[in-house]
Amino acid sequence: MITQRGFLVVFAGVLLLTSGFSFINFYLVLLGVYCVIGLVVTLPLFALTANLAGIEVDRQIDKVKVFSGDFLRVRVTIRNVSRRHFDFIEVHDQYPETWILAIGENFMASRIEPGSSMTFSYILQARMRGRYYLGPTEVIMRDRLGLHYYKRILKEQTEVLVYPTWKDVRRLESFAKQRQLGLMFGAHRTKTVGMGTDFAGFREYVPGDEFRLIDWKSSAKRGDMVIKQWEQEKNVQIICMVDTSGSMGNGYPENTKLEYAIRAAVLLTYMGLERKDLVGTCVFSDLVHGYVPPGTRPNHMYDVLEVLAMAEPQGWSDYETAISHVVTQSKKRSLIIWLTDLERSPAPLLNAMKTLVANGHKSLVISPFGPWFEAPVGQFGPVEKVLSEAVSEELWERRNKIARALSRFGINVINVGPEDFLPTIMQTYEQAKQRGVAMF
């Protein structure tokens, strides 16, 4: 293949040759011949040495799973396993478009001797959750004068799973630190006496009680042995239903309804795990893509993150299939929080709620309202403005009707926008804890 530089030489050669022919000038012809011969004379030698099959590229990364916004070092090693040197080799290691090259360069050019290798690295910032691939690597070999080149694309790719962003949790942590919030479990009080931290009362000692439970001070005052009792603390079980239907993908990139729903699910799981509550996650559209049952295992958070990382906005919302799956998997009373935009027909949703209530679960719908996630009306022209307002009103009316129908059975629908999505999920969780919904 001829490079741009090569074409310049061809142009010069042809110009000089034709000028020489036109003006019957051997000097111009000779120079034209020099250019043309100079272009091709070393081509066979270049073909002989340019054994691109002798180039091996090895890519190494520090972690295969990272959080959105995290940094990742990529090390690329190029080996020349052939017996010939490469005068000039360019290596471009490709990375996903949405990522940011933070430090270094994903490009290297140098000369490489036979049997030797060269390594370069660069640091990327993973920006959006999902499954990504680093690579392929483009290897270009040029001759010394840069007149010809051979190109090879090494399709070897490195898979990286990007979890949803952890920044909300970081914010929450810093907020909690500021307010000196305790991270102890069981914020909800019950009237049940048992192990806990809140004082419930005294009772007389009966044989069989543990000695450590005796309150010696009160016993001394009374002259009889007294046991100090505490209010037992219980936890709640929550299942977060994340709708990943196509309509959830609407909105600004990185700020779609689905992204907010995922961030809310991560936040909820984190808060639940911190307080030893059981939080499960179900990712669904027209089928259940993933379900992590409520649990407190050490890897529970990562299981949830993995399921959420893979979520893609596609298909339609089949609430009934999703709830059937969850109900068969989880027998305990749970608070089921739906994160859905309610843009499907209401009948299946009501049927799903019916199943849910019949199985003794409580439910709540946190619904991102589409127009609030899209471009502000101010950015539109007059026609688009009127149309968008009409659509918004229609959608609003529709979801009000669904909300009215659901409220008859004690199921609330909370409409949220980008600003109040995360605060709403936190508030909902706190209220559930306070009210003692779905305790176990």
């Binding site: 040759l17 019957i24 000779l30 020099y34 091709v40 070092r73 840069g146 209401p346 600003e419």
Partner: protein, 444 residues
């Protein structure tokens, strides 16, 4: 090369140093005539419309004086004083237009020689600083363009006619020396560009990394200072070391400044910069090779080797090109190879430059063909396939079958639910309260 061209073309007496000035003056004169012609035509048209077809002469003369003389302070050709009679003006116009056009034609070439020489020298100087093949190629073509233009004007230009049959005689010809010098310039410049470019990426990487780390450090320090409540004197970093040199920081700053939810976006941007600083510090501390890998220091080739190989490579290429070109153009070689009848051998066609094409095209074709054959023999064309391990393939297969299974199950469940619902509807024994709620809500 430029000097050789200058000295070879000097006998033509073309290097008049006032040629550019003469060209510009001629252009202006031509323009003045054209402007005058257009102006008088328009004014005549307008005047004749108002005065019944009679053209007021004084007005035209006045117009000419205003437009041409007062504006550009020039006289029309062949006239010393301002013209007062429009007929004289017209006569002068007709007479001078040809003169001006001829003068312009001559001056254009003189001007072009200077222009090409100027462009060539400027591009040559640029190529010394920037090491870019476009400047080298441009300088080469500009200087050769002078000879092409001179050849067009049938001036005395370097020529090698008749083409010598003896190599040494050919080698020492004035035209050959100029051709050799010109080609050597192109060749050596490209080799030098290679020498520069093979080590430059490593230097550039090192420089970029330094700037990036410095910018990152400055940004973090500045942020710390702001948090401590100290006043920060500068609002931004310098262009060379700061945000412009570092896309990540630039992007972070944009997010900070332009962010929709300003407070949170700003917090994120600051947090990102700080986390990157921590990440880089940690990396550089824990991995001793990290800095070298980021700069790819180890990939830099030995300068001595590069220089040595450049000299030998140039010499070999140079000699090969000259030898092959001589063979292609040598009439004896052509006659020997073609073994033509004596009548054709003595034909004038064989001493024409076009005869070169007879061998040039096939010989030029041989080299890429040889390269293609070599590539084919050594099976260079690597067919790249997605490299998936057995486990990965199995996992992918499993994932797909799992998805299919889920789909089937979901559709089966849906069908069953629909069936049950139809059955219930047909029953009509009692209206479900959920359905009623839905009906009520949507009836309103």
């Amino acid at each position: 090369m430029a000097y050789l061209v200058y000295s070879i073309l000097d006998p033509n007496d073309i290097w008049h140093w006032d040629a550019p000035y003469a060209f510009v003056v001629t252009v202006f004169r031509l323009l003045s005539l054209i402007v005058f012609f257009l102006a008088t035509t328009m004014v005549s048209g307008l005047a004749s419309a108002f005065s019944g077809g009679i053209m007021p002469e004084n007005m035209i003369v006045g117009l000419y004086n205003t437009l041409v003389l007062r504006t550009w302070y020039m006289q029309p050709y062949g006239v010393t004083d301002p013209l007062t009679n429009v007929q004289e003006v017209w006569a002068s116009f007709q007479m001078n237009l040809n003169n001006v056009l001829f003068a312009l034609w001559d001056n254009t070439f003189l001007f072009l020689y200077f222009l090409c020489a100027g462009i060539g020298i400027v591009l040559f100087l640029q190529s010394l600083v920037r090491m870019d093949h476009r400047f080298v190629g441009g300088a080469f073509l500009s200087i050769q363009a002078i000879i092409i233009l001179a050849a067009f004007r049938a001036l005395i230009v370097p020529d090698i006619a008749p083409f010598p049959a003896d190599f040494m005689e050919f080698f020492l010809t004035q035209g050959q020396i100029l051709a050799l010098v010109s080609f050597a310039y192109l060749e050596v410049s490209y080799q030098m560009i290679y020498s520069a470019s093979v080590g430059k990426p490593v230097e550039d990487r090192e420089e970029t990394l330094k700037k990036q780390l410095l910018a990152l450090r400055q940004a973090t320090r500045k942020q710390d200072a702001i948090e401590r409540g100290e006043k920060v004197s500068t609002t931004g970093m310098s262009r060379s070391t700061g945000a412009t040199a570092f896309s990540f920081l630039r992007e972070a700053m944009e997010r900070k400044v332009m962010g929709g939810q300003s407070a949170l976006e700003s917090l994120d941007a600051v947090s990102d910069v700080r986390r990157l600083q921590i990440y880089v510090d940690d990396l550089l501390q824990t991995d001793s090779r990290a800095r070298d890998e980021l700069t790819a220091k180890a990939a830099a080739p030995s300068p001595m080797y590069v220089i040595g190989s450049t000299i030998t490579g140039s010499a070999i290429r140079f000699l090969t090109v000259v030898a092959v070109s001589f063979m292609l153009m040598n009439p004896n070689f052509i006659q020997m190879v073609l073994n033509l009848p004596i009548g054709i051998q003595n034909s004038v066609e064989l001493i024409q430059p076009e005869i070169v094409v007879l061998f040039l095209v096939p010989v030029v074709g041989i080299f890429p063909m040889a390269a293609a054959v070599i590539s084919w023999i050594s099976k260079r064309e690597v067919v790249e396939k997605e490299k998936l391990t057995k486990e990965e393939k199995e996992a992918e297969k499993l994932r797909k079958s799992e998805l299919d299974r889920k789909r089937k199950e979901a559709s089966k469940a849906r069908r069953e639910r629909a069936k049950a619902r139809r059955k219930r509807k047909g029953d009509e024994s009692g209206v479900d309260e959920w359905d009623k709620a839905l009906d009520d809500a949507f009836k309103r």
